[in-house]
Amino acid sequence: MSNSSLLRVEDLHVTYHTPTGPVQAVKGVSFDLGREKLGIVGESGSGKSQTGRAILGLTAPGGEVRAKRLEFDGTDLLNADTRTMRRIRGGGISMIMQDPKYSLNPVMTVGKQIEEAFLVHSKDSKREARRRTLEMLRAVKIREPERVYKAYPHEVSGGMGQRIMIAMMMIPEPSIIIADEPTSALDVTVQLQVLAVLDDMISERGMGLIFISHDLNLIASFCDRILIMYGGQVMEECRAADLAQASHPYTRGLLDCLPRLDGTREELAVLRRDPAWLEARGESV
Amino acid sequence: MTALALRGWLLAEVPKSKAQARCQRVFISWLAFKRNPVAVIGLLIITSLVLVALLAPWITASDALELDLSGRLQPPGSEHWLGTDELGRDILDRIIWGSRITLYIVGLVSIIVVPIGLLIGVMAGYIGGWVDTVLMRLTDIFLAFPRLILAMALVAALGPGLENAVLAIALTTWSPFARIARAEALTIRNSDFILAARMQGVSTAGILARHVAPLCMSSVIVRLTLDMAGIILTAAGLGFLGLGAQPPTPEWGAMISLGRQYLIDQWWVPTMPGIAILVVSLGFNLLGDGLRDVFDPKSGG
């Protein structure tokens, strides 16, 4: 793992102005990302997805993003102009979302969509785009790339759809991938197969990954480092290997309330939410 | 109950009865509706229509049926604000009395069309199979007729008159509502809450009445308000052809029809009722748009 940070986030805030008052979706989140797999885990409403979107400037209209620093590879993302952001999205930082049913264009063939993603960030010919696309489909372990190239999104399974998404997001050769619940809609075996593909590609290319999920076990077994979020803030940060020794009561609560295959059939420990956790922690870890 | 207490009751966190919960929902929908100025304009127009119709005996100078041949075709002025028609009757008064007829038409058509359309639509959509096929073919038949032609045919068979015109309009208007209700029913029928109702042993009739139909109401009501304009215009058209309200009834369409020969020199005779139709149709359209924005299910409306 290299020492240089690809992404630096310092005191990120995302606030939505609603008719009933401001809602703080993200309250002072800070972290650095190197060439590693960073997991952000939290329940619904924890702000994990909002964090991912804020980095790419994809916060929904009505949301205000503020931070002390939001820097990718030396470029300031907060004040970047549209042209710079367009270059970075896809070419520098890419995003994989949850359900390929909704994130792939249903009226374009798979091949065309991936080519488009390629051509946006390079000035190569169409022939080169096609060659790269097929190469990418092979790289994500799709067995019949020619057939899938011509297929429409609804003709492929969920797992294959996500692999296509990965291909599409990797083809412009970004340095960072933000994956927002990329496997939540998939069966457990397919989930792991898709993650294996992602894992291999990230290692090969020396990329950074931000993996956002609600699945603590999955993140613990897949990622290198973990951020646990609650109420828009980071409760705890630890190495994945050290998760069992986590100290924050929220993390412990999450760990303890999970049913386990090797557990007893006693009552599950119920998470007791302490309102103190929601208090602004100022500069966080 | 003071206004403040009422507002408190309507915004209370915990409703204490079904009635209170319902009122709260309506109130919240109203607050959402109020935020759209155009929709409020529509509501104002329609409310004005209703008020004018109700207060007709008190706001008109005459009963608008008396002839005054010496004062015919007077232009708009201080004595007759919108002028007089070819028989010397005050046009403003006739328009005001005519609002009653407009409301009568619109109300009667709605009462006929909504229940029939809903019933046929939810049955076809929920039950499916041959019931769906038969009911939809029936709907298609009625949908295929151009409104005016069918209306003319009916009136030819039944004789001219306002009620027959209303019947004719109703018969040509219900089909799209059945389609809308059917489309909603199709979407809903595999929902978990319907399955839950079946799991409880609720009869098909019960499911249609208490579960499916209430969810179709919003779309149907929005469609109804948007169709109002068309209904009024059809009635006006029938009146124009002499097939609807018969003279001397001050129905707006009939007024345009009888007045059209004066369009060039005494423009106000057909134009004023025309403007009335325009304003009311616009009002219903704006209201319908506003309702559609409010009835988004996520806002709980």
């Binding site: 075996t189 999970l258 998470l271 | 809450f193 399955l195």
Partner: protein, 262 residues
């Protein structure tokens, strides 16, 4: 209590026929919790819905199903509908959006002409940990976990013997899941219920059930006790793979995954 023999469920006809469930047989004793585990498309939810009698217009169901000594006919009897209830997966979809909690819960009582409806509603709400203030709220005004509790409360109104659970906690946050699972366990003990639980989550099934069947492609691959599952004493490769996958990401293990395709 529940006996299913050679259940077959086919959707559609002729060329487009889809055989969702093939020759499934299982038995559940009174007071037991039986788990049906599988991935999507395995047919587990279809089996549950076939048992519930919810497939009558959309699929062809054959086989013999017996519940409490009553052989199930195509149209379920009133007594079946009283003693067998179901909790659905999606807390956002299983409650009618325009009905208050009170209406939702009174409905089964009305259908079965039970007495003291209001009392039953309030007491069922209390049993699931919701106080009476929830009675007149609409579903969109309460949280996902609370909706699931309402779903469970609704299932209790008719004092059933059997509750069918279709992924009851899959759509809930982990902390809320724990509460709901605890609730279900407690209610089972207090009311002597029989559960059939469908889930894709082996840990949940291991926690809640004594026996389970693993389904794949519409068929039962293996039926075993949860004890056997924990001891990894399964003989079927599919079950073993499912078990491995449930333990988390293991790069080496994934390479060994087989495709158990159609």
């Amino acid at each position: 209590m529940i006996d299913i023999r050679d259940l077959d469920v086919v959707f559609g006809h002729g060329k487009q026929a889809f055989h969702a469930v093939r020759q499934v047989s299982l038995a559940v004793e009174a007071g037991q919790s039986f788990g049906l585990v599988g991935e999507s498309g395995s047919g587990k939810t279809t089996v549950l819905r076939a048992l519930a009698g919810l497939l009558d217009r959309v699929a062809t169901v054959s086989g013999v199903m017996t519940v409490a000594d009553e052989t199930l006919q195509e149209q379920r009897s009133k007594s079946f509908r009283r003693r067998v209830q179901m909790v659905f997966q999606d807390p956002y979809g299983s409650l009618h959006p325009r009905h208050t909690v009170d209406t939702i819960m009174s409905e089964p009582a009305r259908v079965h002409r039970l007495d003291r409806i209001e009392e039953r509603v309030v007491s069922a709400l209390e049993e699931v940990g919701l106080d009476a203030s929830f009675r007149f709220r609409y579903p969109h005004q309460i949280s996902g976990g609370q909706r699931q509790r309402v779903s469970v409360a609704r299932a209790l109104i008719t004092d059933p013997d059997i509750v069918l659970l279709d992924e009851p906690t899959s759509a809930l946050d982990v902390s809320v899941q724990a509460e709901v699972l605890n609730l279900l366990m407690r209610l089972k003990r207090e009311h002597g219920l029989t559960y059939v639980l469908v889930s894709h989550n082996l840990a949940v099934v291991a926690h809640m059930c004594e026996t389970l069947s693993v389904m794949q492609n519409g068929e039962i691959v293996e039926t075993m006790s949860v004890q056997q599952l924990r001891e990894h004493s399964s003989t079927m490769p599919y079950t073993q793979q499912l078990l491995t996958a449930s333990l988390g990401y293991d790069r080496a293990a994934i390479d060994a995954f087989e495709e158990f395709g159609q």
